[in-house]
Symmetry: C2
Subunit: 150 residues, 2 copies
């Protein structure tokens, strides 16, 4: 049932999300790289820390990549003075990650610029279309809650 509708949705997804995401990646790479010498992945780590992923493991889970990969990105960010690393008092295995003031400001600057870039691209959308996109995003977000079947 609804086989056709689901297929159509998935088809539209494949035609839209990968190239759109590639565009945004390319934009952030060009802007953040040139302006702040920050890589796209480092930007994502900062973004996720602000959103609440404050340990290496939480970041690895959120980004679906290995802990060593995160550990190295964090190391680079700490050395750039954008992230602070402190041993947790409740569990001394855990390193608690927080944005420094510089990291917070940098993240803001990139978001302001990227938001402007996206706004320019969404300018042609009507209010209805924007509402529709927001609703669709909420629907898609439900996909994230399902664990991978083993």
């Amino acid at each position: 049932m609804q086989e056709t509708l689901l297929d159509e949705t998935i088809q539209s997804f494949w035609e839209t999300v990968p190239p759109l995401w590639g565009n945004i990646r390319a934009h952030i790479h060009a802007y953040a790289g040139v302006t702040f010498h920050l890589t796209v992945e480092q930007f994502h780590v900062l973004r996720l820390v602000r959103r609440g992923a404050r340990t290496v493991s939480a970041l690895a889970e959120a980004k679906k990549i290995s802990r060593p990969a995160i550990s190295q990105a964090v190391e680079a960010l700490v050395q750039h003075g954008l992230l602070a690393r402190a041993q947790s008092t409740s569990d001394r295995r855990v390193m608690e990650l927080t944005l420094t003031t510089a990291g917070d400001d940098l993240l803001d600057a990139i978001f302001v610029e990227t938001r402007q870039w996206m706004k320019a691209r969404l300018a042609g959308c009507s209010a209805d279309e924007l509402c529709n996109i927001t609703t669709a995003m909420l629907s898609l977000k439900k996909m994230l809650d399902l664990p991978n079947p083993e």
Copy 2:
């Protein structure tokens, strides 16, 4: 005008698309890598060739990465027997890329599996929600048509 609405849309976008895309990437990496020794990027190149990007330049434009990067990915795919490269007769600078039978079959296999994976995750959506997502994808796709301001 509509400042709030646009901001809300962009916010929902950031909370949804990056993690969702990360999940799908991780899934393809796990499946295609283990089963076929194919990387995610190689999968994307095959996918784009099938969708009509049949030259190195077209692929670079579609993926927003450099021509050398595409050239190397194509080289690997040709050596794996998944892609065929032939000099164009109308313009001998151009290499016309086509999927081999093996490449076509491989792409089908990955799509069938990934589609199933996505379907399981979209199973909780109503018909209305699916229509909504499809419509939103079409709206977002319009963003791709705008060139980067120089």
